[in-house]
């Protein structure tokens, strides 16, 4: 149990290092003058001009050497200080604290919905491989996986929000608002996890121990509950770890589409506006969220699979 924790801690450090160096190097090499972007981001196109930009340039101390700026960022990070957004001039931590809640709500709702949708269907299909449900689910899954996330989102909006008026299309603040964006993410996740569940079910039900459970004399339901469920769940939960990448990436696209005031949305904007502290802050938090969720998956795997605890 110590090794996985150490592994995740190392990964978290790696994320911090990578985000720091990468975003810094990239942003420094971006085309155009940073002061322009910052001025533009702050004041908008009607007010920004050369004079405004000059004022911004002086206020930002952008002439600082890159290495020094990077070092000071790491130094600040150690003190849990992510700096001040160049655009809003508010502390990055405050902005992220506000956005992170929204993103986590979205991500976790999506994960929950996907777990409710995908694996149960996959298990049902896997119990009768080659059956009608299996084939239908295969077709559905492969089609859904061929749809880009934003298309799924738009289809859902037009379908559920406009035509049927069931759900609010966009916005934030009420419980109902999370459903569509979360569903958009969840459908993509479920399309894959139902196949994982299906394959796992087939593998388990054709395994020697499942067969042994039957010939031992266990009733099918007993056998499924005692030897099927846990063994099917292990690969599904493990796969959740793989899907987290999709989730985090999806958050970027889906938040933009649904005007969800989360961290992915903030990241895209920060990149466009060249708000280096925000980019580093958001990328760092997203990376750490990824690591943390992965650690959560580890814990769940450990809880499900006693082999992890003993080996």
């Amino acid at each position: 149990m110590i090794r996985p924790i150490l592994h995740r801690v190392a990964q978290a450090l790696l994320v911090a290092l990578m985000v720091g160096v990468l975003t810094f190097a990239l942003m420094r090499s971006l085309p155009g003058d940073m002061a322009w972007r910052v001025a533009a981001g702050r004041y908008g196109y009607d007010i920004t001009d050369a004079a405004v930009m000059e004022q911004v340039r002086q206020s930002l101390a952008l002439d600082q050497p890159a290495a020094l700026a990077l070092l000071s960022w790491f130094g600040d990070l150690l003190r849990l200080d992510l700096g001040v957004s160049l655009i809003s001039e508010l502390p990055v931590v405050d902005e992220i604290a506000h956005q992170l809640g929204a993103s986590v709500t979205l991500a976790l709702t999506a994960l929950l919905l996907s777990v409710l949708l995908g694996p149960p269907l996959g298990v049902l299909a896997g119990l009768r491989p080659g059956g009608g449900l299996d084939r239908a689910l295969f077709a559905l899954s492969i089609t859904l996986r061929a749809l880009p996330q934003f298309v799924i989102g738009l289809l859902l909006i037009y379908g559920l929000a406009i035509v049927f008026g069931l759900l609010p299309a966009s916005g934030h603040g009420e419980a109902g608002h999370v459903v569509l964006p979360a569903l958009t993410l969840a459908i993509g996740l479920a399309a894959v996890s139902c196949r994982v569940a299906r394959d796992a079910t087939v593998a388990v039900t054709t395994s020697g121990y499942y067969r042994f459970g039957e010939t031992k004399g266990l009733r099918p339901l007993d056998n499924f509950l005692r030897h099927g469920l846990r063994n099917i769940a292990v690969p599904i939960v493990t796969y959740l770890g793989v899907q987290l990448v999709y989730l985090i990436e999806g958050v970027v696209v889906v938040e933009t589409l649904f005007a969800w005031p989360g961290i992915g949305h903030a990241l895209v904007h920060a990149i466009l506006a060249r708000d280096v502290p925000m980019i580093q802050g958001t990328a760092l938090v997203m990376g750490l969220m990824f690591v943390l969720l992965n650690a959560g998956v580890d814990v769940m795997c450990g809880a499900l699979d006693p082999r992890r605890r003993t080996s």
Binding site: P31, I248, E249, G287, F290
Partner: protein
């Protein structure tokens, strides 16, 4: 060498059909996919233009064909680049083991610590509208998958008696790669490649969606969708085309990947 299932054949057939469409249309229908004619905007399919026109009066048939060429081209290039690097390093790591393996795994783990889209977004932001950051970014994300799969297989193959036998029988590393590794890696490469291509098609479209992809007027599927999205009520058949094409492309690639999940 690689035996394809029925579904995989269907995927190959579909992909060939799309490629034929992409390459054949310009041969049959003369014209320029970026040529506008505002008086012919949003003509429905079936009229003077077989697939209709977009809001700028550009021929959808030509645009779709060009967009498929672009998507396939990017997909092919990125997967090929990532494939060559990934397989070569994967075999190297798997077959050599030791510090080579540890070093390469370290690099791969580092890249995996961060979601790929983030990497691509940052790279694309360096040179908006250019192709190379797209190629580089997508390849950088894809090669890790090749590497991991190839390495896992190579580890297994390297430990197999067949490879040991080959060595004892006096065969060199190239022979072993050709006769032992490659036949087993080929199907994996195909699967990963098909998945990678699908990922690449999707990523490029998603970047088009956040306006950081290929620059207009070059026809690109994601951007076409966004351009046409507002007309969903007015010209649904036009909007459906790029969506359908993306779905078919990714579907074909997913089918080739064997409907597998990973």
């Amino acid at each position: 060498m690689i035996r394809l299932s029925r579904g995989q054949w269907a995927g190959v057939a579909l992909l060939l059909l799309l490629a034929l469409f992409a390459l054949g249309v310009p041969q049959v229908v003369p014209g320029d996919p970026t040529r506008q004619s505002l008086s012919n905007a949003l003509l429905p399919p079936g009229g003077p233009f077989l697939f209709g026109t977009d809001p700028f009066g550009r021929d959808m048939l030509l645009r779709l064909a060009a967009a498929v060429r672009l998507s396939l081209g990017i997909a092919l290039l990125t997967t090929a680049l990532a494939g060559v690097i990934g397989v070569a390093l994967g075999v190297l790591a798997g077959a050599c083991g030791g510090w080579v393996d540890r070093a390469l795994c370290g690099v791969a783990d580092t890249l995996l610590a961060l979601p790929g889209l983030l990497l691509v977004l940052l790279l694309v932001a360096i040179a908006p509208g250019r192709f190379w950051p797209l190629y580089l970014g997508v390849s950088l994300v894809l090669w890790v998958e090749y590497f991991r799969m190839t390495r896992a297989a190579a580890l297994r193959i390297a430990a197999s008696p067949a490879v040991e036998a080959s060595r004892l029988l006096g065969f060199g590393p190239f022979y072993r790669f050709r006769r032992h590794y490659w036949p087993e890696l080929a199907p994996i490469t195909l699967t990963v490649g098909a998945f990678g291509s699908a990922t690449s098609v999707m990523s490029v479209a998603a970047l088009g969606f956040v306006n950081v992809g290929v620059r207009p007027p070059t026809p690109e599927l994601g951007q076409m969708m966004i351009e046409l999205m507002p007309y969903y009520n007015e010209a649904p058949l036009i909007l459906a085309q790029p969506i359908l094409v993306v779905v078919l492309l990714v579907l074909a690639l997913n089918l080739i990947a064997g409907g597998k999940t990973q």
